[in-house]
């Protein structure tokens, strides 16, 4: 546990030290680039303030909603592409393109279609996460060892039962990988979208960031960035834990008998 933790802690300490050195160098005045200490003090103050959590809560709710829809849609699309030849020919290559397209490019269209609404934000998160999730599951299904399919069929599983008992479990590690990547995309898309939608009286991490910038409150700005970073790290490590336990169960980690 400790041997896992100390390199990470070391990296954090190093990053903070570099930050402090840049501040000390006098490259920018303290009002534009405050040092770690005042920012952490500010963050501690924020964390005692209930209003601060309203913004985080709003942002996390949006992330959860958009991500859940993306996970559902991505799963359905991947299974359709895997099962239906025509769907593969139609959508298979589109998926690759969508995956490399920055989802924020959807935002102007989303605004025209749905106005400055929650729907527009959800759509951007969905378009960010769904292609990665679908691609993960699809590659998992495509890469199921033919031997396992033969085994399943030889045991009398076909159609849906083959999917349920053999193909989908075999594809699970790749699916979890896709879900993890999808989350990273969802989180990024959401931050971009929240920065662009300043309107609305809903407070969110994005609006708070914009507000801090408009007020030239760089301590608040950096404190919020730390919050965004920490949320990303925590959720990513949750996915990492699920990923490891699946791989462990599936015998995909090296070093076992």
């Amino acid at each position: 546990m400790w041997s896992n933790l100390w390199p990470k802690l070391g990296a954090v300490v190093l990053a903070v030290a570099i930050w402090q050195l840049i501040v000390w160098s006098g490259w920018r005045p303290q009002s534009a680039l405050p040092g770690p200490w005042p920012v952490l003090e500010r963050l501690a103050g924020d964390l005692r303030n209930l209003d601060f959590y309203a913004g985080i809560g709003m942002t996390l709710r949006r992330a959860a909603l958009g991500y859940a829809i993306a996970a559902g849609a991505g799963t359905v699309v991947a299974i359709l592409i895997a099962r239906v030849k025509l769907a593969r020919r139609a959508v298979g290559s589109l998926l690759v393109g969508l995956q490399s397209m920055p989802s924020i490019a959807w935002f102007p269209l989303a605004l025209l279609l749905l106005q400055r609404s929650e729907g527009a934000i959800t759509l951007v998160v969905l378009m960010g996460a769904a292609p990665a999730i679908a691609a993960g599951l699809l590659s998992g299904i495509d890469q199921v060892h033919p031997m396992l399919i033969r085994v399943g069929r030889a045991m009398g599983a076909d159609g849906l039962r083959l999917y349920r008992h053999v193909v989908l479990p075999a594809a699970l590690p790749a699916f979890v990988g896709g879900l993890k990547q999808g989350w990273a995309f969802a989180w990024r898309s959401l931050m971009s979208a929240e920065l662009l939608v300043v309107a609305g009286n809903q407070t969110s991490i994005g609006t708070q960031l914009q507000l801090a910038r408009n007020l030239l409150d760089t301590q608040q700005l950096l404190a919020l960035m730390i919050v965004i970073f920490v949320i990303g790290v925590v959720i990513d490590s949750l996915f990492g834990a699920v990923d490891r336990s699946v791989r462990q169960r599936w015998g995909l980690l090296g070093g076992e008998a």
């Binding site: 031997m147 396992l148 033969r150 085994v151 069929r153 030889a154 045991m155 009398g156 599983a157 039962r161 008992h165 053999v166 479990p169 075999a170 699970l172 169960r249 599936w250 015998g251 995909l252 076992e256 008998a257």
Partner: protein
């Protein structure tokens, strides 16, 4: 041949002028070309052939996983397949793999665990029920695969070089195990191997296939008393003759 076919109720499986072709680039590759043989109920038959003799194709057709291009392959009753790699589902435990075979056969959930335990016990894997395939040795995986095949309650067991990847001692033990299970049950076994000694060790009869395409070149009845030892001189003499035959076939096939 036709009057033999009339007695087919005695036969567990029959292969008649079986031809299987695969597209290979823009050409057609013949894997099997008019193979013909029969296996009696309860018989243990080994098929030997060099690589390219269509051994695996033969089993796939018999198991209904590949379609013949010509001729017929017929199995009377249920079929279970055992592969070279154990091909256990890696996310299920040993017991879970056996239970899935039971579930797909329609065995009630309440009975599965008990039956799986009995079957694993029968292949000497008691105590390893909760292990996953990657926690089992090669020989243990093949025992679990054997238990899973037994769970399918097959009449005919098709085995595709099942012990080829095992060390000599594990293979010896599994030969004994398989022979014991075969004697206790009413199973018919068609066992494919490239190893002539293994074929002679196990089979009532050995069928030698030609290479590229596969055809029945030769049938050798093995009258040695059981249990046989892989190291016995009588066995070595017969196996030597089969190996010579295989080498001859391979040089023709080139």
């Amino acid at each position: 041949m036709s009057n033999v076919m009339a007695l087919s109720d005695k036969h567990a499986l029959s292969v008649e002028r079986l031809t299987v072709a695969f597209p290979h680039g823009d050409q057609v590759m013949l894997a099997l070309d008019g193979a013909t043989f029969e296996v009696k109920r309860g018989e243990f038959v080994c098929v030997v052939g060099a690589s390219g003799s269509g051994k695996s194709t033969l089993l796939n057709v018999l198991a209904g996983l590949d379609r013949p291009s010509g001729g017929r392959a017929h199995v009377h009753g249920r079929v279970a397949l055992i592969f070279q790699e154990s091909a256990l589902l890696p996310w299920l435990t040993a017991a879970g793999n056996v239970e899935l075979a039971l579930e797909l056969r329609g065995v009630k959930a309440s009975a599965r665990q008990k039956v799986a335990h009995e079957l694993l016990n029968r292949v000497h894997l008691a105590g390893f029920e909760r292990r996953r395939p990657h926690e089992l040795s090669g020989g243990m995986k093949q025992r679990a695969a054997l238990a899973r095949a037994l769970a399918q309650e097959a009449d005919v067991l098709l085995m595709d070089e099942p012990f080829a990847a095992l060390d000599a001692i594990s293979r010896d033990l599994l030969h004994e195990e398989l022979e014991r299970i075969w004697t206790e049950s009413h199973l018919t076994i068609l066992f494919v191997t490239h190893n002539a000694r293994e074929a002679v060790r196990l089979g009532d009869r050995v069928i030698v296939l030609t290479s590229r395409p596969g055809r029945v070149a030769h049938e050798v009845p093995i009258d040695l008393p059981r249990p046989r030892s892989l190291d016995s001189p009588e066995l070595a003499v017969i196996a030597g003759r089969i190996t010579d035959r295989l080498k001859h076939e391979m040089s023709n096939g080139r």
